[in-house]
Amino acid sequence: MTPLLEVKGLKAFYGTTQSLYDVNFEIPSGGITTLLGANGAGKTTTLRAICNMVRTEGMIRFDGQEIGRMATEEIVRRRIAHVPEGRGTFTSLTVDENLRIAAYTRRDKAAVKEELARVFDYFPRLKERIQQQAGTLSGGEQQMLAIARALMLKPRLMLLDEPSFGLAPLIVLEIFRILRRINEEEKVSILLVEQNAALALDLASHAYVLETGKVVMSGPSSVVKNDENIRKSYLGY
């Protein structure tokens, strides 16, 4: 079976500085994969590279189609949803507008309505705050809103950048529970970038470890988790 996302020989540049050297990985359809590594290893850059938000070289193939040269918005329209680092919301728009903007590309109003209902089923808290400005939400709520908005794109692949960043442990657990549900119920494949490796390895079935812009190892989560060498040298716990 062809993988959903296939990345080969990926290089990425910020201006003239190269920050990814030779990144290769695959994401199977339907699974959860995680990218681990220390600060500055290139995790965020990899996600940004997939959406063509940095200058890249190499091959990125989504569902058998080369997307490396496409504009970000065209990639997104092929149903790759990217939840960026930090609070990825439009702070001056309301919760409702934040969700609707994601459905802007779609014509089937009835389906959008249904989806909105389903999103609120995952995140009942957002429903209570539907007319509130996104900027006034708490950190956890903003992260939920960002994920909810990604869901509104009806994605086949969701790229999540540090969803636990700066949040209280209880909220992080709640969010990760919801992510698992989303993966199972919506058949959304997930590529998760996390600082918190233990948490990510619990959720993901497969892990890649990045170091200074290269994939240095990969394997099933259970193997990575139990390999003390990897844990000590790359994951720091």
């Binding site: 959406c51 504009a71 970000t72 997104v76 702070t91 728009l93 507008e97 900027g135 939400l137």
Partner: protein
Amino acid sequence: MQQLLEQLASGLANGAIYACVALALVMIYVSTDHLNFAQGEMAMFSTYISWQLMNWGLNFWVAFVGAILISFVMGVLIERVILRPLHNAPVLSIVVVFIGLLAICNSMAGAIWSYLIKEYPSPFPKSSFGIAGVIGPHQLGVVLVTLVVLTLLFVFFRFTPLGLAMRAAAQNPQMARLVGVRVDWMLALGWGLAAAVGAVAGMMVAHIVYLDPNMMGGILLYAFASALIGGIGNPGGAVVGGFIVGVLENMVAYAGNMIEKTTGVYIIGNGEKLTVALIIVIFVLTLKPAGLFGRVVVKRV
């Protein structure tokens, strides 16, 4: 007393025009951080186009809509062709390009239609419009047309998906791309809309100030003052600012007139309009850069 009412009404009519141009300026500012110094001349050019259409025998309102559509297309083209490649250029380059645009619009209008001042018709019936002694037919018409345009724009931005996408693109282009919004086109669309709103202002004011290539210079300055008072970057504020500035301008002239009448000393009158605008601009820019209603977006960290 009646004179005061008349002044107030004409202030509102002028204010409506400033509001339109100010809104056009804000629309471009929020999405690109640029101040469009050519906005006034673009509006003037649009007004000439409508005049030309009428000259070819079209009815006022047909010419009105025609000119708006043409202006919209021109605005989109200007953004796509001229400004797009300069997206990351230094401020000076962008200012220079705007001034270039201003010079081209102004001189081309003069070249094509000559610098002779032309009369421009008012579409509003004299008999059934206006309230005698308070507001003239054209003034009332201007206020109404402006309110219709502003309402349409409000509805568009507030309630349509495209309007929402444009707001999202203006607020955070990167993120807007991540939800599939074609940000580049949104900017061009914003330019088109700004040009169209400016065209409305030009076609409404031309009956009052007469049609000539330099008719918008002062109005643009007032529009900048309005936008600044409302807090540049705040569309609602720009509209309110427009009306405030319009009324203020007439009140200042009225007060100056009264002082001259009672004391015989001339202090200020219609001749100092632009100086008043200059003072407002510098005062707001240096002392109250966020404007009267400028507010920081609420943010919880």
